[in-house]
């Protein structure tokens, strides 16, 4: 991978042949996906989803001491409005003095569309610097400036000479891709190009004595970058840090809720530890190539099996297998005892999960281990990383090849139809689709949460207690199920849920 030289990263449709429309079973998907042409399918009826800009903001708007500039008409980035005034609480968990979200919208008007938005972009960046003196100014580019051809990089290069904040362009126009996860590449692309490494023109290089240098290198050799995600809570982070510290490692947490300075020395690490390939593959690959830092990317530490895999991958890199096995043995023994009482309650219960491919497959395995039968999964998209994980899942969870697998972000009409047919006891969902399932009366466990623990060994216990609590009384959603209606015709529920997936193009791709 060597896209960093380019101004913008490629979209995931091209880079990973990511698929965004599919309906079948886990077994079929595993076979089909290996043929490599799922990416070409599309929908002839679709519902809205999110765009690169949404997700880029979701990933990095939490950065402390930064101001965001959204170069767009006034509506893009609108999702931020609901976090204005409340995001600070989460930032403060990382730094007491944190301030809340700050952003400036360039408010492109019809005149700007005709004559170019470059002057407004300048105005916004200078305003961000003048009013807030942040460490970094993150500039997000939306559809309109891309279509009118604003020379964003040129202007920002020029502005960088005038402001002391580090300027980070993030090219994330929405129409370029239907795979929202491309946003992660856009954000990392901007961060790697603009924040990583010391700027020796601004700060003199550190001079160390030979002894200091040895000590410094020793420290680096035990330092890992733990790549968190926006959906991770502070408690999640603490659990992973606890496990890594138990292995005598130093942990630096990036990129969500980080400070721009945290990136300066990000390349002084022995290993990049990801918790999600969908999120991090672009970053870790480039770091490996540019700085020779290897990485761990296989899975997210959710559930016992995947937490063990995650730790073992890290251990084998550092050659500390023995110590790690001891940790795993002690942790799992204690945990298994703690979750035993829940298994009786969950035995014979069924579940359906929806969200990112990595997260749902691992959470499904966790629920399976707690006694649930998994009836189906809906992934936001699917690519080679999902393929690897799905095969492991098929191996670890008996009889799972017949479970449903549907691919599509948003597209709640397909979900509503599916749920009316397979009626699980528990619905596990990403934010944005839970309200729809709630109106069908299902008890709902949110797939992630900013205030709760899901990861590591503690996460398993926490998930068990919360699922148990939610199943104890689902009256609220049951009432909704009886008294509200989703906006679909009755005839829709009689049809195949995948009626509007058109894979003729993928068939053509396969033949051609």
């Amino acid at each position: 991978m060597d896209y960093i030289k380019h101004k913008v990263p490629p979209v995931r449709e091209d880079r990973l042949m990511a698929c965004q429309a599919y309906g079948g079973t886990c077994g079929d998907l595993s076979t089909e996906s290996k043929k490599g042409c799922l990416y070409a399918s599309k929908r002839t009826f679709s519902q809205t989803q999110g765009c690169q800009l949404n997700l880029s903001l979701g990933m990095i708007s939490s950065m402390r001491d930064a101001v965001m500039v959204i170069h767009s008409p006034i509506g893009c980035g609108g999702n931020l409005i609901q976090n204005a005034g409340i995001n600070k609480v989460f930032q403060k968990l990382r730094q007491e003095s944190a301030v809340g979200l700050r952003w400036i919208n360039t408010n492109l008007s019809e005149v700007d569309v005709i004559s170019g938005g470059e002057a407004k972009l300048r105005q916004a960046v200078l305003k961000a610097e003048r009013e807030f003196r942040p460490s970094a100014i993150l500039v997000f580019n939306s559809c309109v400036p891309a279509l009118i051809g604003d020379d964003i990089d040129g202007i920002l290069d020029d502005l960088q000479k005038q402001v002391s904040a580090k300027i980070v362009p993030i090219h994330c126009e929405g129409f370029k891709t239907k795979i929202q996860a491309t946003a992660y590449d856009s954000v990392y692309h901007g961060l790697i190009r603009n924040l990583v490494g010391e700027d020796n023109t601004a700060t003199p290089a550190v001079i160390r004595t030979p002894e200091e240098e040895i000590e410094h290198q020793a420290k680096i050799s035990k330092t890992v970058n733990l790549l968190n995600v926006g959906s991770m809570s502070r408690i999640d982070e603490e659990e992973l840090v606890r496990l890594l510290k138990a292995l005598d490692l130093n942990v630096r947490i990036l990129p969500s809720y980080s400070h721009p300075d945290d990136f300066t020395y990000a390349h002084e690490a022995a290993l990049n530890v990801s918790i999600c390939a969908t999120h991090d593959d672009y970053f870790v690959e480039h770091f490996k190539q540019m700085y020779g830092i290897p990485y761990v990317l296989r899975t997210i530490p959710i559930g016992i099996a995947n937490t063990n895999k995650w730790l073992r991958d890290i251990a084998s890199f550092f050659g500390i297998e023995e110590q790690t096995e001891k940790l795993i043995a002690a942790e799992t023994a204690e945990l298994k005892q703690a979750i035993e009482p829940f298994k009786a309650q969950f035995k014979g219960k069924t579940a359906f999960l929806t969200g990112g491919e990595v997260r749902i497959l691992t959470t499904a395995e966790l629920l399976h281990n707690l006694g649930f039968e998994i009836l189906g999964l809906r992934g936001y998209h699917f690519d080679k990383y999902g393929e690897i994980l799905l095969d492991e899942y098929l191996e670890d969870v008996p009889n799972s090849e017949k479970a449903i697998f549907n691919i599509g972000s948003g597209q709640v009409f397909e979900q509503a139809n599916l749920l009316s047919k397979i009626t699980p006891d528990l619905f596990v969902g990403h934010i944005g689709v839970n309200g729809s399932a709630a109106k069908q009366g299902y008890p709902i466990f949110p797939l992630f949460g900013q205030s709760d623990d899901y990861l590591g060994y503690k996460g398993v216990f926490e998930v068990a207690t919360r699922v148990s609590r939610i199943l104890k009384n689902a009256s609220f959603n049951k009432n909704l199920g009886k008294n509200t209606r989703l906006p679909y015709r009755d005839s829709w529920y009689e049809q195949d849920p995948f009626t509007y997936i058109d894979d003729s193009a993928s068939v053509a791709a396969r033949i051609g």
Partner: protein, 446 residues
């Protein structure tokens, strides 16, 4: 050149249009835009509006053509046609309304040509070009109303003297819109009129369709819905008046007098209604007689937000509650003419108060105005600042309130630290609710 805006309190025309359409009973918006626009706007529409939720068809349920790079190159009209056909099959609504994002405008798709092909079908398919860069949420509201009035409301040559229409309370942007519309409707009922509010509880599309026979349109705003009123007048021959959103006795009594006069209601009847309402209103405020005075509950106030609310809250604080709302920050993008109309709505206070009114869209400017109005402490021993103070604004004023160590009541959009269901601040009853909420804040700090 329009200004760049720090933390805007509205989204684009497309967002305003979606919020408006999804607040109509059984109406289905169809987005002709890039796949991300609907998802991007969902948080602003529901999450920031007191968790208003998506209504019947909102959030991720919104049908959208999801045009991408390929369509941008080849044009998206074919995709739109397919999307409308299939939407009619899958989505269960009584009215379908195509709205557009900025990309499809730039590539020159003609949505009207496409929707025309659905003319004569069982269900109506309307369209408006809600191009994002032409205006904000309020403009989108206006465009949707104009389209409904032109293309959906049926001609009614004979008017009904007992029916009026009322709008100007913008769904979602007025977080309390539904409750407010209900209150205003029942007040007019007491005056002897049936009212179509289009978006309120219990409204139907039939009401909207037949609204052409109303004898008056009442626009409860000095800023929004006025262009649509002109269209209504032009197409259906119904005159309109504009009247400020009323909260509490003083605001609502003025409202009733203005509306009564326009409708030719007998003065005596209007005054009688006002007297009756006051008889129900003041016994509640009377309960505060001790606590208000024993504990000295009078406060200075800074009011921040859109023109509808800022003027209404200011009048309520000044004339009903006897507070000192001395600084008002209006955060909308307004034209010169609109600004003048809005300025005029802050005045003629019984209290004789003359608040300072500033127009500024940037969220973080508010602190600066407070410091200017109530000069900062420069370390002097004898000093009087913004104390005792209260900010009535939105959740965006959280930092500012913290900085000045004063309580904040979020009443204007965005609100994400309160849940709002059927609460209303309009009318006499709304005034009592606002008094409860504000004074609860004050006692909570004891």
């Amino acid at each position: 050149m329009s200004k760049v805006i720090e933390r805007p309190r509205y989204v684009c025309a497309l967002g305003g249009a979606i919020g408006t359409i999804q607040s109509l009973p059984r109406a289905i918006p169809i987005l002709h835009s890039s796949s991300g626009c609907g998802g991007n706007l969902a948080g602003a529409l529901s999450g920031a509006s007191g968790y208003n939720g998506g209504n019947y068809c909102g959030g991720q349920a919104l049908p959208s053509s999801n045009v991408s790079e390929r369509d941008i190159v080849f044009g998206g009209e074919g995709r739109l046609q397919e999307q409308i056909e299939n939407t009619l099959k899958v989505m269960d609504g009584d009215l379908y309304f195509v709205v557009t994002g900025c990309m499809v405008e730039m590539i020159g798709d003609n949505v009207h040509a496409v929707t025309k092909r659905f003319k004569g079908e069982k269900l109506p398919v309307l369209a408006a070009e809600t191009v994002s860069f032409k205006g904000n949420s309020y403009y989108g509201y206006e465009l949707v109303l104009e389209t409904l009035f032109r293309d959906f409301v049926e001609p009614a040559p004979v008017k009904d003297a007992g029916t009026v229409n009322l709008w100007g309370v913008v769904p979602m942007q007025d977080v309390f819109w539904k409750g407010n519309l209900g209150v205003l409707k029942s007040l007019l009922k007491k005056l002897g009129y049936e009212t179509n509010t289009f978006f309120g509880q219990g409204e139907t599309l039939e009401n909207l369709k037949n609204s052409g026979k109303a004898s008056l349109n009442i626009v409860v705003s000095d800023a929004y819905g006025i262009e649509a009123a002109k269209v209504f007048e032009e197409v259906h021959g119904v005159p309109y008046i504009t009247v400020p959103l009323p909260i509490g006795d003083h605001g609502t009594s003025r409202f009733l007098r203005t509306v009564g006069k326009a409708l030719g209601v007998d003065d005596i009847k209007v005054e009688k209604l006002i007297q009756e309402e006051r008889k129900a209103y003041y016994p509640y405020l009377e309960r505060l007689a001790d606590v208000y005075n024993d504990l000295d509950f009078q406060r200075y106030a800074t009011v921040v937000g859109d023109p509808n609310y800022t003027q209404a809250v200011t009048r309520f604080l000044s004339d009903d509650l006897g507070w000192l709302p001395e600084l008002i920050v209006v955060t909308d993008i307004l034209g010169e003419e609109q600004k003048e109309r809005v300025l005029a709505s802050f005045g003629e206070y019984e209290s004789g108060l003359r608040p300072e009114i500033v127009f500024d869209e940037d969220a973080s400017s508010v602190g600066g105005y407070i410091n200017r109005h109530w000069p900062q402490n420069q370390g002097q021993k004898y000093y009087k600042g913004f104390a005792p103070g209260v900010i009535i604004g939105s959740v965006m004023e959280r930092d500012t309130a913290e900085q000045f160590k004063v309580p904040l009541l979020p009443v204007t959009y965005p609100i994400s630290n309160r849940v709002v269901l059927n609460r209303a601040y309009a009318g006499y009853s709304g005034g009592l609710t606002l008094a409860e909420d504000i004074l609860s804040l004050v006692v909570a700090h004891r």
